[in-house]
């Protein structure tokens, strides 16, 4: 019996496959035969990196058209590959590119797609996907009813990337070329300089909410993050109040993080915020309200004034670290 092909649309950042790509490859190799699609300019060892994490095959087209023109060239190539090889499932990251592509493909192939997938399995000739709902307090199980390749958009940090060396097996595919595909042109790429670790990759996240009361007060969270080597995040309340930029927002309409330790400081724990950090390994809470819902999800909580506790915490950590 043929093993089901589980494809991953691979993406790169800073010269490497994204963590999301490696997470999806790991899961794909567990479910069936993992294969990757890699489009656009990439370092020479990109295919090798994908093979190292489980890709039995990499469909490759290096043409600059995929970098210079958004969505349509990639959709065209991917649709062609799907038609030719008919994989059971095609996984996309919850990235800007992934979402744009899936929107286009699901309409083009009239097959629908399931987004925000936390886990999935093959079942009854289709796919069964688990999606967190209502701020991650519920799970809904969904399937796609049309025949054909199942398109899934996977939540970040759903799977643990693992090494799984496969022999490098690259199949060159012809690049998209039609003039009609050049409708959305990339003119310039602006990189916003970021200090410290990115939120998504940080092992320690210090997050502040309404309890911080203002923009300047976030400086103490920054100091705590610095001594712990972590990143600073925020709840929607702090972003809407204009104290911190949207890039720091964690939650349903912000980023999803899964650090080893998540500090929720002056954050009440609304379900929308929880959905962005609920799967953190450990949650430490500092809040002056003992009834704040966040305490029900914390591994360790202090009911107290954050403006007293946090500076003390910084001092204690500095002492321990000999800083």
């Amino acid at each position: 019996m043929a093993v089901d092909k589980i494809w991953v649309f691979a993406e790169s950042a800073e010269g490497k496959p994204t963590t999301a790509t490696l997470e999806m490859l790991t899961k794909a190799a567990e479910v069936g035969k993992a294969e990757a699609i890699l489009l656009g300019p990439a370092p020479d060892d990109a295919a090798q990196m994908l093979a190292k994490h489980g890709a039995s095959k990499v469909y490759r087209a290096a043409d600059a058209i995929y970098r210079d023109y958004l969505t349509l060239p990639a959709a065209d190539t991917v649709a062609g590959l799907i038609e030719k090889h008919k994989p059971a499932v095609l996984l996309f990251a919850s990235s800007y590119t992934g979402r744009d592509l899936v929107a286009n493909l699901s309409a083009r192939l009239d097959c629908g797609a399931i987004t925000d997938v936390g886990d999935f399995q093959l079942k009854d000739g289709s796919v069964e996907a688990t999606i967190p709902a209502l701020g991650a307090s519920y799970q809904n199980i969904s399937t796609l009813v049309r025949p054909g390749t199942k398109l899934l958009v996977v939540r970040p940090k759903s799977f643990e990337p693992k090494l799984n060396e496969q022999p490098v097996n690259v199949e060159e595919v012809s690049a998209a070329a039609a003039e009609g595909l050049r409708k959305v042109q990339m003119k310039d790429r602006v990189v916003v300089k970021r200090e410290g670790p990115s939120l998504e990759g940080a092992k320690i996240v210090i997050s502040g909410g309404r309890g911080l009361k203002g923009e300047e007060q976030f400086a103490i969270l920054k100091e705590l993050a610095d001594v712990l080597g972590g990143a600073v995040g925020a709840s929607r309340a702090a972003v809407d109040a204009g104290w911190v930029p949207y890039a720091m927002q964690i939650g349903q309409t912000g980023k999803t993080v899964k650090p080893d330790v998540y500090f929720a400081i002056g954050i009440s724990g609304a379900v929308q915020h929880l959905s962005g950090m609920k799967t953190s390994k450990y949650i430490v809470t500092i809040n002056k309200d003992p009834e704040a819902p966040i305490f029900q999800y914390s591994d360790f909580g202090i009911v107290g004034d954050l403006f007293k506790v946090v500076p003390q915490l910084i001092e204690e950590i500095k002492k321990r670290k000999g800083l």
């Binding site: 950042a13 958004l70 990235s95 800007y96 097959c111 629908g112 797609a113 399931i114 069964e128 709902a133 307090s137 519920y138 799970q139 809904n140 199980i141 969904s142 399937t143 796609l144 009813v145 049309r146 409708k183 959305v184 042109q185 990339m186 003119k187 310039d188 790429r189 602006v190 990189v191 916003v192 320690i204 712990l228 809407d240 949207y246 927002q249 080893d260 330790v261 609920k278 450990y282 430490v284 500092i286 003992p290 305490f295 029900q296 914390s298 591994d299 360790f300 909580g301 202090i302 009911v303 107290g304 007293k308 506790v309 946090v310 003390q312 915490l313 204690e316 950590i317 321990r320 670290k321």
Partner: protein, 106 residues
Amino acid sequence: MKIQRQTEAGYDIVEASLPAVASVTAGVVEPRYPSFKGIMAAKSKPVDQVTVADLGLDASQVGWAGARQEITNVAQAPARQAGEKFEDDGTGAEKVVAFLENLKVV
């Protein structure tokens, strides 16, 4: 159409030929508050009601009947157990550090 498109690293400047579909992220624009004049004018603005048939579609193509995705089950997510909670009596910070040391974070 010239667009600033958010990316993981910052943003791209992108130009799209029309017609185009643009999805706009949260927090981009500060919405205006409607003026009294605007609220009054809204009452007499036209609202176009269309039926599925008006759009040249069949009932089987829209709504539940036309859905490509089907929800087969809804269940409560496994609960996360609450841990310890302490009232700060001046030693709260020390207790947190002890917790962190246990995790080998400090």
